[in-house]
Each structure stands twice: as C-alpha cells, then as structure tokens.
Symmetry: C2
Subunit: 574 residues, 2 copies
C-alpha cells in the first residue's frame, strides 16, 4: 500500500471524552471516529487491524472444526420471548418495531437464533457434534458507554455455539474451544490469561474468561504462579489454612469511643487489623415480604465478595440492612455490632478465616464499645454457617494446594461457557438418539470481542509516542520511510525496489510517499504503532545502508541494502 | 474441506412461499434459512458464495483506489434530519429509540454518515479525490419482502462514496467506478449489461444501473445490438423517425358503439392499431389546490412512460383525472376523448410519434363516436407540447442513430450515481481550494447488492437439477465423489491423494466423505451447483481412470489418473 492511496489522519491531541489510553491513541491514530455515544466508524487504519483479528479468529475456529454462517442482526421478538430473555434483558436489548408494528431485537448475541436454526436442522445423534459461529455486528445499549471500543454500544463479536448429545460431549467441545482460544490469543502476540469464572446470569455449568493482561484492566485475575490455578476475583476460592488456636486471653469489654471501623479500632488498641472482625448486616427479603437477618463476619483486613455471599443458603436475594432494621434487630447502631449475644432471628455466617480466629476483637453491640479476647465456643456459639465469603488476597494459599496466590489486572476479551440445556429445553431443541428417544441438545457458547481486542492490545502495548502493535495485529507490518523521495532518484529507486520486494514476499508494507518532513512522518508511524520501520536516505545509501528500527528499539540499526529484505523477514518472524 | 466437517442440508421440496427459482433453489440447497419475513440466516453453503462475491468486489474496489472503512449500522437521526431524509424516507427506514429515547436509523445506506466523516476530515483540495467504501449489513423495511435474497429486508451491500473538487473530477471518479463495476461483473462470470438510468429520488446528474441478464428479471433493458447504446426502460429515449405524411383522407365522424379502447376501435373499423390514438387525461394539482388539465396522446400500440410524463413542464406532480373531472372538462365520458375541439383549460401533449401521424383515428369527445382521417393543423391545432412520452419498443430507432433497439430482461445488482452537491450542500461538506475559498464537495455514490448477486446469478444459471454456479462464485469449485471410500482402499487412497493435490494447488475443493449413496450424492452436488465434479470409482481406477463431469455436461469424461489435476486445472481456467 502507498500512503498516498490510503487514508491517514492523525491528531496531536485526543478529544476530551477519551478517558483511557487506548481510546485516546485510537482517536489520535485515526483508527476510529465517533458517530454517537458508544458508536464508532472504523476508519481505514482501524479496520485493517480488525480484519487481522478476524482473520486469525476465523482460521483457528475453522481449524477447530467450527463452521461459519451469518445470523441476522434484526431478530424477531418471538424467539427472545421463548427463552424469557425478551423480558429479562432490560434496556440493554435494543428493541425496534417494523412497519407492521412487529417487535424485533437488534442482536446483542445469538443463542436464540442459532437454537432455532439447529432445532429444525438437527434431527439425529448422527448429525452432532456441531459447532457454528459467526462474526457479526452486535448492539448492546449500555447505560454508560465509554472507553472507545472497550465499552461501546455497537461492536463486532465472534460468537460460536456447540451442540452435543451429552455432557461429556459438551465438555469435549468446550475443551476444543478453550484450546482454540489459547491458540488465537497466542497468535495475537498478547500476554493473556484464562481464568475460571462464575457462570452468572447466562446459566450453565462452567465457564472461563480470557483476559488480556494490562495494569489498567478493570478485572482482578487471581492465579498461582507455581500451578495452573487461575480464576477471576468473583470465582477465586479463598481457603483458610491452619487450625484455630486455643483461647489465650480473657473476654474484656473495652471502651472504643468513635471507633466504628476496624481500622480505627486496631489503631486505638494498638493491635493488628487481622485481629479484628468486620461485621456486615444483611437482610434477605422473601417474595411474601417476610424478612430474614444475617450477620456476616469477615476478618478486618478482608473484603466481602458479594457473589459468594449470594450463594449462602437464604441469601440468593439480599441487601444491606437499613439502620432502622439494625436498631430493631441488634439494639445497637451500625459500627459496633458483633456476634457475642446475637440470637434469633439473626443467623451468624462466618467467613472460613474468621471461623479459625481466636482472641479476636469484635463489636459489643453497644455504641463506643468492643470486646477484646473474644473466642468461638467460649464467649459465643460457634457460627451457624461457615462459608467462603471474601475476596482472595495476594499470598492466600492456592485452592489446589500448590502454592500461594498472586493477583494481576486484566481486560476480558473472550468467554467460553458450558450452557448445558438452558436454551435447548426452553426452545425444545432436541435430537433423537439411537433408540429414537428425544433428548435436549447440550450446548456451549463461546465469544470473542473482536473490536475490544484492539483496545485491550493497546492498553497492554503503548508508550509515550503511541501504540506498539504486535506484528500479527498491526495495520501494516512494515513502513518504508524514504527521505526526500521526490528529490533523490537514488532514494526513489531503492525505495521502490524494496517496496516491491516486500510486497512480493507477502509482507504487509506501507510506503510513505506523502512527502512529509521526517519528524512528522516518524511521529505518525510511531503513533499508529507500525512495529517495523525502514528509513531510506541518500546519505545511508551512499554507504550502502538502510536504517531499520523496531517500534520498541531506542536506536536504529544500519542494514546493508542487499541484506535488507532478509533482515526484515527475520524481524517479522521473531 | 471435507463434507463431514461442513454443514450440508438439502431439501427435496422448496417451501411454498418461495415463488421464484433462485429462492426455491437457495432454500433447497441449504444456502439460506428464513428467520422472519425478508430476514435470512446465511447458512455455511450460502455464506461461502457471499464471501466470494465480497472478495471480488473488495479486490476490484481496492485496485480502483477506493479505501475500505466500516460505518455503523445504528445511525443518529440528527444526520438524517440534516438532509431531510428522516422525513422523506417513509416506513422503509427502520427507526429505533435507544434507552434514553434518542432516535436512530438502522442504515439502509450511508450517504449521511460518510458525508459527516468527510466534512470533518477533508479540509483542503490537496486531500481529494477520495473514494471510501464499506461492505455492510443494510436494512430496508420493504412493504412486501419476497423472492428470498432478491428483495429481502436485511441484506449486504457494498456502498462507495467519492469526493471531488469539481464536476470533471466527479465524472472521472464515476468513470473509474463504472470500469471497476464492469470488471467485477466480468469476474463474476455473469452475463450483464450496464444501462443508463433515470436519477430518480436520490438526485444528481447521471447514473447507470448494472443488470444481470435473466429472462425472469423484473426490469426491461433497452439496448442497440449494433452500438453502445443501453438504457433502462424508464430512461430509454423513444425517437420518432421520418416526417409527417400529407393528409390524404377526409375527416369523418364514425359510429363506434361500445368501442372505448383503441384495440376495439381498430378491430371494428378493420384498421391497424398504429392508426389509432390513445388519449390519457391527467390532472396536475398545485399546492394551492388549483388544477391544470393535460391530454396526453400516444399511438394506440404504445405505452405511457410515467417517468417521462412527469418531466413534461407542469406535470411534475400528476395523477389520472377522475371521471367527474373528465365529464366537466371534456363534456364526455372517458374512452371517446380526442384532441379535436379540445380547448383551454386543456393542454394537449403529443408523443413524438403522434406528432408525425396523419390520417389517424381519434375519439370524437362524444360517447360511441370516433373520427377517422384526422390530421394535425387541418382538423385541429398542432399539439401544444410534443414530448417523449412512451416506452420504447423493439425495433425503434436507437437514439444514437446507429441501429434499432432490442429489449431484454435484467435484474438490477449495481448502481452508480453522480450525486453532485446534493448531500454536501445540505450537510455543509466543503473544502478549501487554492485560494482558501470554500466549495462544496462533488460526490458520487456506487452500490452493489452483494447478497442480491446470489439470486441474480441463479436466475441466470440453473436447470431442472439445480443451480449452476460460475466457477468464480461457486461455494466450492470442485467436488470429489468417491464411490465406496469406506470399502475400497484403492478408492480411498486415490481420493485422498487427489484431494491433497487439489488443496495444494489452491483449488477450493470439497471431498464428499459422508458415505452417501451415489445417486443422493450426485443429486446434492447438482442441486448445490458445484461446477466441476470428479468421481473416483474402483472400476475406473483399475483402468487407470477417473471420471470428470462439468455441471453443464451431459456426459462424463474418463481422465487418466496421472493427468487428473492438470485436466481439472484446465477446466477451472476456462
């Protein structure tokens, strides 16, 4: 490609609504252009990257035996009503009426349509397993779209759906997709991590998220550096190590004026925060209006994990108790609650770590007073429920017993789900087995946020000059920057020669023939993030050399003209 | 591709709502699947064809210097309001409100968005000419979607938009696109014709349609076999040849009871239909409610062209006169009207052919009476207006004077427009010229109905067995049909060998390893329309032969195994 035949439009300053670096750099590099809130035109430079992402995804999906089709954007409401998602999805689902007043959804995902396709196409066990995918525009009417392509409303997603006869088959299909995703993200050249995830609203029996590692990532990823264990924060299990020490101190009521927080109590008493107990009062309201009260206990330095809490029996639907409820049930204002003397209707739920504590400090259910030297069994009943209630922290024991946990930040770019029969049962997607007996199809679904990859790749790879694309995703692998091509026949000739050789070698090369000054030209390509650059100048040529510089290099390397192509090929292969 | 790893689903019968052959065959071949009215899932077999269409379009657009980007599907109403199309488009434009109640359009085309992109990107004459295109899903809420992909609601279109500094530049860009389209349809391997078209509602100064020739086509294409002249029926000029003969007969009022139509009059009087005059009474109503009356005259065997009529001064907005208006203005019921004695407020508009007639027969403005021997100038005033009012017919003189016209049927698959400044003026898309003077950009727009190509290609290429794809568009170029691959080691070995050789040669080959009976296997591939087939059977192999059969061939050809690949390559190159 010649730059004069392409469209390059860079900006010195990012628009003020671009809050994060990937959004800023994509706007400045002319990769995207805002059309409306969370809606972007993919400009030629950005589209080139999207196509590279798509090509790698498509190749690996095909290799893994998935079959590409294309499902419509505008989908009849009837199908979404069959699964109940027409009502469940809320305002994120963009709804539209056609000229006849019929309801349609603009697809945010395609479980319903693929299940509809498959229920009419698959009759027999002989036709499965099958895995269909498409790469298609999606729309999710986010409440607060932001961060450019990271949380847009219109975006491109690859979504795949597998159909199997039984759970073992589904798990096999799932494993094939997991491996394909690993291959895809490896080919992208990005540092990534697959973590076990909570299945959440989509239902089903198992799932993993694929995250691009970036310090700016929204999600905390938990992993064990000495084993395979990895999970997101919602799903990472916090295990309690060791056993409870015997009581060593006497229970003592202590004045702790104005110290309602664990941090304040520890400071006041000159003790470790780890010796304090954090008390969280929750109310679970039943459909009939009746209420149940739960006192959750965490170690002072730990944080509540709401997903885990909601899995405690009776807490599926919970909220923080109001101050009025707390006064009524505990006879004390919040800040000084504790398990000592707590009785029905309150159920005490202790985190696993808390259940192993002894000689701890806890609220006295009296304003401005705490107990020190508190012990389970001796000073109060053992907790009614012991459960994993907290977020893990660095240094926790790994649940697989093979080391201690570390935490890093990531950006979710892929998700694989074992759906089971959630959709096939509600939509009657069945097949006949060997005995002509119908059974629901076992499904899996597998998504990759194609356009989101761009944002995530940049969050992981940038510097103060701009983007640093991995070679596999770069809009162009190589840029040729001739110095004064219009003035020097020698520069022109060598540039054209190298350009044609690179094209013939299948290198995705751009020749900057715009006639810009060197400074502006280099700044553009550093901003755009082309990973390999060759400068062709008369002075160098007279010594027989070109100048190569990788995007992360701090200095250029002189390369003999005759060896240039081989040198570049070597760099591209790294 | 191995058929066992692909998804093949054929039907013996087409669904009853498939009215035309391409729709029937695409459904039967498992290429598309109906999701809703005018909305289809592109199944794997159909998507493969779409991708081939897209690839050819993309290559030729890039070669022609157009630059690909991707504009959003969901577009803010504000832009459509700027050009007035938000109101003008009617219910064909699918409108949607987001969660905040803001209005959006699901794009049926992207003039507004590209003009918005360009008005902020293009500042100077130095940045143009530019031509941007995208290949994107479109939605048009057709009143009566039908014919499968031929008139769907959701479809894929390639739309390109050129931006130039002046009319000469725009015409140059237009010519480049015209030539690219010619190259694209040539590469498709389809018989096609480019015809001059009326610009219609989109505005602008010139346009051509590209039609795939098919006897089932909805449009009549007019062309001159001995010259370059070609136009669609709306735009084809009807010229009147020769001069008016002198009056030879006397004007005679003749009783023509119950003969209100030209055909009946000619039959009754025993004369040629070409001697009669067809009278059409039109009313043009002004915005202030005032009415003007026009009597249009055509030769009895000719048909009114409403587009041409609407271009007659005063007839921009017209309708057929009501019977009450006719009685009031002409003093006679319809069926017996004629120009003799007609006076204000009626304006007589004669078709060019009519203006040259003499001794003709026309209504006497009296029920059951006509005049014979009528002549202009002698029996009535010369017509107030002479204009081209009619559709051309086979045998008419070509407007370029280089032969006579022929007519064939076509399916519109592409359209190129000179838009001029219609959009750039309403949206203030200007550039600064050498003198820093702003001027509106001169635009062109260029569309190809990607998914419609499939339907049109089939309408042109099918037989009673199924589709006959041109090699360039076929889902697979070559199918290998082994006979008893699971029983014969020889068949298996030779099949695998040829399959791998074909793959290595870059041939898009499918190996039918499904283990079907030969009859069912052949029927599937004939229905799907793969253009080249090789049968590998044990009996043939023992004689050293494979069997080749082209989709249009009536018999198979024995080909020595050693020559098979070269033979196939030769066929593919034809």
């Amino acid at each position: 490609m010649r730059a004069s035949r392409f469209f390059i439009s860079t900006l010195k300053e990012a628009p003020s609504d671009a809050e994060i670096v990937s959004h800023q750099l994509m706007m400045r590099a002319g990769m995207i252009k805002r059309l409306g809130s969370g809606i972007y035109t993919y400009m030629p430079m950005g589209l080139k990257v999207i196509r590279k992402v798509e090509a790698i995804v498509r190749e690996e999906m095909n290799k893994a035996g998935a079959i590409e089709l294309l499902m419509p954007l505008v989908q009849p409401a009837e199908l979404w009503q069959e699964t109940g998602r027409w009502d469940k999805m809320g305002p994120e689902l963009l709804r539209v009426k056609d000229r006849h007043g019929r309801d349609f959804a603009i697809q945010p995902t395609s479980e319903e349509v693929i299940t509809d396709v498959v229920r009419s196409e698959i009759k027999s066990y002989r036709q499965i397993p099958l895995n269909f995918y498409h790469i298609q525009t999606k729309f999710r009417d986010e409440r607060r779209p932001r961060f450019g392509l990271m949380r847009g409303r219109e975006f491109t997603m690859k979504d795949a759906y597998s159909f199997d006869r039984d759970v073992a088959g589904m798990q096999k299909s799932y494993k094939i997709m997991f491996d394909a995703y690993t291959q895809i993200f490896t080919r992208f050249g990005l540092k990534f991590r697959a973590v076990a995830a909570d299945n959440g609203a989509i239902g089903g029996t198992g799932s993993h998220e694929f995250h691009v590692i970036a310090s700016t990532g929204e999600d905390a990823l938990v992993y064990c550096p000495t084993s395979d264990y990895a999970a997101n924060m919602e799903a990472a299990e916090a295990v309690a190590s060791g056993t409870r020490a015997a009581a060593g101190a006497a229970l003592t009521k202590t004045s702790t004026p104005k110290a309602a927080k664990c941090e304040d109590v520890a400071k006041l008493l000159g003790i470790d925060l780890k010796q304090t107990l954090k008390t969280i009062a929750l109310t679970a309201e039943e459909d009939d209006g009746s209420k149940k009260y739960f006192m959750l206990l965490l170690r002072g330095d730990h944080e509540l994990n709401e997903i885990k809490a909601s899995k405690v029996p009776g807490l599926a639907k919970n909220r923080f108790s109001t101050e009025a409820e707390i006064l009524e049930v505990y006879g004390c204002k919040p800040g000084y609650l504790g398990p000592i003397g707590t009785k029905a209707p309150v159920t005490v739920v202790a985190d696993r770590t808390v259940a192993l504590m002894s000689d701890f400090v806890t609220g006295a259910n009296e304003v401005d007073f705490h107990y020190t030297g508190a012990n389970w069994g001796r000073d109060m009943a053992e907790p009614a429920i012991v459960a994993d209630l907290r977020n893990v922290v660095e240094g926790d024991a790994s649940p697989d017993g093979k080391g201690v946990l570390a935490i890093e930040r990531g950006i979710e770019v892929g998700h694989v789900f074992q759906l089971g029969t959630a959709y096939s049962e509600s939509m009657q997607a069945t097949f006949l087995d060997e005995n002509q007996k119908p059974a629901p199809l076992q499904m899996g679904c597998y998504g990759i946020g194609i356009t989101r990859i761009l944002g995530a790749a940049i969050e992981q790879n940038f510097d103060d000059k701009g983007i640093i694309w991995p070679t596999s995703l770069a809009p162009f692998q190589l840029v040729l920057c001739p110095m004064g091509m219009d003035r020097s026949e020698l520069v022109k000739a060598e540039t054209e020669k190298l350009y044609n050789e690179a094209l013939a070698a299948g290198i995705d090369v751009i020749l900057d023939d715009r006639g810009q000054r060197p400074g502006a030209m280099f700044a553009d390509w550093e901003l755009i993030g082309v990973p390999h650059r060759v400068v062709i100048g008369e002075r160098g040529l007279k010594e027989g050399n070109l100048e190569y510089q990788g995007r992360r290099d701090t200095e250029a390397t002189a390369v003999p003209v005759a060896e240039a192509l081989a040198f570049i090929k070597g760099k591209l292969a790294q």
